[in-house]
């Protein structure tokens, strides 16, 4: 009796799961199918293509200058991530591992900087970058990372805190200074955390729409793919088949990196410093 009930429960649970999974996947399937249709079918009620047109993806590259868009996105996301790591790892290390007067205040300021909507400071920052002549490029979005990113500092600090102090204490006894402890002890042990922070910022920059809208909308040559995607339909008279193909092409790098890095994410959660 009880066993039959739990079997029924199991079936019910998995029915719900599969239904939810189908609902979450359905829009992807629809976009994928549309991207493989003729332009006429893509703009109609047809759900399943009557003929398949993978060459749509080649046409996207020819028609929309995809290579430049990819390059701009990769420059934005790649440099932003690199700069963030350079500036934020030492800051997070100091907040996690060095006791000093004022560290609590700094940490609270970081939480506020992380949580407040960026729109609040948009006007003065735009004025600043336009005085420097850098509007019309992605630099106003890349360069600030050289001076730290609040969310990344927060994330890295939380991760560094999970590394047992004994490791850095024993390094200190061996005569290491803080810089050496950071580069030789904490950073190697915090690789999953550092990778997670890097991937978060990379995705955030790759997906960013508001920043590029603000700083590059006047200069199509600087557009990253996330921004350009929103303009295809009408500025270039692109049909739905190509728009959907471009949308898929914008998602692919993010999805690939996610799958490649899933292990790092899991490691980041499970491996908390004590191993071997």
């Amino acid at each position: 009796m009880n066993r039959r009930r739990s079997l029924a429960q199991l079936v019910a649970d998995h029915t719900i799961l599969v239904t939810l999974a189908i609902m979450f996947l359905a829009p992807f399937l629809f976009v994928l199918l549309t991207s493989l249709m003729t332009a006429g079918e893509a703009g109609s009620r047809v759900f399943w293509p009557s003929s398949w047109h993978p060459e749509n993806y080649v046409r996207v590259f020819q028609k929309l200058d995809m290579l430049r868009l990819y390059a701009n996105s990769a420059t934005y996301a790649g440099l932003a991530t690199l700069f963030m790591l350079l500036s934020s790892i030492p800051a997070a290390y100091a907040l996690a591992r060095i006791k000093f007067r004022g560290s609590r205040l700094i940490f609270v300021i970081i939480i506020w900087a992380m949580m407040l909507p960026p729109q609040i400071t948009t006007v003065p920052l735009y004025v600043m970058w336009s005085k420097l002549g850098l509007t019309g490029s992605l630099w106003p979005l890349i360069l600030p990372n050289l001076l730290g990113d609040a969310f990344s500092v927060f994330l890295l600090r939380q991760f560094f805190l999970t590394i047992p102090k004994e490791y850095s204490e024993s390094a200190k006894l061996d005569g290491c200074g803080h810089f050496q402890i950071m580069t030789r002890v904490v950073m190697p042990m915090a690789k999953p955390g550092i990778a997670a922070a890097a991937i978060f910022l990379f995705f955030w920059s790759w997906n960013d729409y508001y920043g590029p809208l603000l700083y590059t909308s006047q200069n199509p040559k600087a557009w990253p793919i996330s921004y350009a995607l929103a303009t295809f339909r009408t500025t270039k008279n692109v049909d739905w088949d190509l728009t959907m193909a471009a949308a898929i092409l914008a998602m692919i790098p993010v999805i690939l990196i996610f799958f490649a890095a899933q292990k790092v994410f899991v490691q980041g959660i499970t491996l908390t410093g004590v191993k071997g």
Binding site: D13, H14, L20, A21, F24, P27, F28, F30, V31, R45, F47, S87, P90, A91, A94, F100, S103, R104, I106, I109, I111, M115, L116, P117, P118, Q119, I120, T121, V123, P124, Y126, V127, S130, P144, L147, G148, A150, G177, H178, M182, W206, N207, Y209, Y210, S217, Q218, S226, Y227, L229, A230, T231, R233, T234, T235, M244, A250, M251, V254, I255, F258
Partner: protein, 343 residues
């Protein structure tokens, strides 16, 4: 501020163990300087990209400023306009409040439903988790375009299916209209954005799932032995564990609603079929009617379409105050839940 209850402990911890004799003088001086060297770039960043622009925003809010010529002081003119005369800010604030009251709770309940379904997966739980998280991962512009297309009133698959159902019902004598205009109808545009936000629920879902998996299974078993039904089990076992996550989701949801921009802007432009470049997009923001005009979009338009940057700064100061109250509440409650999070 955040972790005041914890301050004493901090002091106690920071009392250093007596260092070996001979190391004191040189070592302690260096120790005082080192953290500041490590923090220097970030502190400069906080100053240049956070504190300075916050102060400037406050200053601009009392000026007439068009970005390109120097600001002119105009006392409280912007403030009086904001609270008295601006017709659009009321609509924008109402719509933003709609998103706070409807979209934020809907997403939290959606995240809870999906996360608890995921805890029951016996097999391939990683695959299911990835599938539910995927939409939150991809560029929001891509997901918005996809969703507007799926909900296209004429050619989208949702209305095609709903149309067939309505057809079937009319065959048996029930005349109902089941095919809304979704993103093209001012009554449906906000619910449509809410459906989109549900599809993108992965970000909260992941945190919720982690919290749900933290609930000790023994507690469920004990509650079940005591004869607690599923509702009581949820109230007395699950809810206390996920309460911090819910609070976090509510606060970040309010802040997210204040700055809600990409999805409504792109959805309006795509649904109306206009370009989202320069003047093109600015002309479609809020469409249809002003039904999707949010506070964050209004701030953007005032600053960068009408070049009323002084007034936009006034809008920004109000946004700051609302967000600050939310953050303050979060930090205070979090230090009650678990001091180490806020410390």
């Amino acid at each position: 501020m955040a972790g005041r209850p914890n301050a004493r402990e901090e002091v106690r911890e920071s009392v250093p163990a007596p260092p070996p004799a001979g190391l004191i003088s040189r070592g302690s001086k260096r120790k005082n300087l080192t953290p500041w060297l490590f923090l220097a770039p970030m502190l400069a960043g906080v100053g240049v990209f956070f504190i300075y622009p916050l102060a400037m925003t406050l200053y601009y809010s009392f000026t007439a400023f068009n970005i390109f010529t120097p600001p002119r002081w105009n006392n409280f003119a912007n403030w009086i306009y904001l609270f008295g005369a601006d017709p659009t800010v009321k609509t924008a604030a109402k719509n933003t409040l709609w998103f706070v009251l409807i979209m934020v709770p809907t997403r939290i309940i959606g995240a809870l439903v999906v996360a608890s379904a995921l805890t029951k997966a016996k097999r391939a739980s990683g695959v299911f988790r990835t599938i539910m998280y995927l939409p939150a991962l991809i560029p929001p512009v891509a997901s918005t375009i996809a969703f507007v297309h799926v909900l296209n009133p004429v050619t989208g698959p949702v209305n095609t299916v709903l149309g067939k159902i309505a057809q079937g019902l009319s065959n048996i004598g029930l005349e109902v209209s089941l095919t809304p205009g979704w993103f093209t109808n001012p009554n449906w545009s906000k619910p449509s954005l809410t459906f989109l936000a549900l599809w993108l629920v992965g970000d909260i879902m992941v945190i919720m799932l982690a919290a749900l998996l933290d609930v000790p299974i023994e507690q469920y078993e004990a509650a079940e032995l005591d004869g607690a039904g599923s509702i009581r089990r949820f109230r007395h076992v699950t809810l206390p564990t996920i309460r911090p996550v819910i609070l976090f989701a509510v606060v970040t949801g309010i802040i997210g609603a204040l700055q809600y921009f990409t999805e409504p802007a792109v959805a309006s432009a795509v649904a109306q079929g206009k370009a989202t470049v320069g003047g093109g997009m600015n002309s479609t923001i809020g469409w249809p009617g002003q039904s999707t005009m949010t506070y964050g979009q209004w701030l953007y338009l005032e600053a960068f379409n009408y070049y009323k940057a002084g007034y936009a700064s006034t809008l920004a100061v109000v946004m700051f105050v609302v967000a600050a109250v939310a953050i303050f509440l979060l930090l205070r409650r979090f230090s009650e839940f678990s001091p180490e999070v806020a410390s």
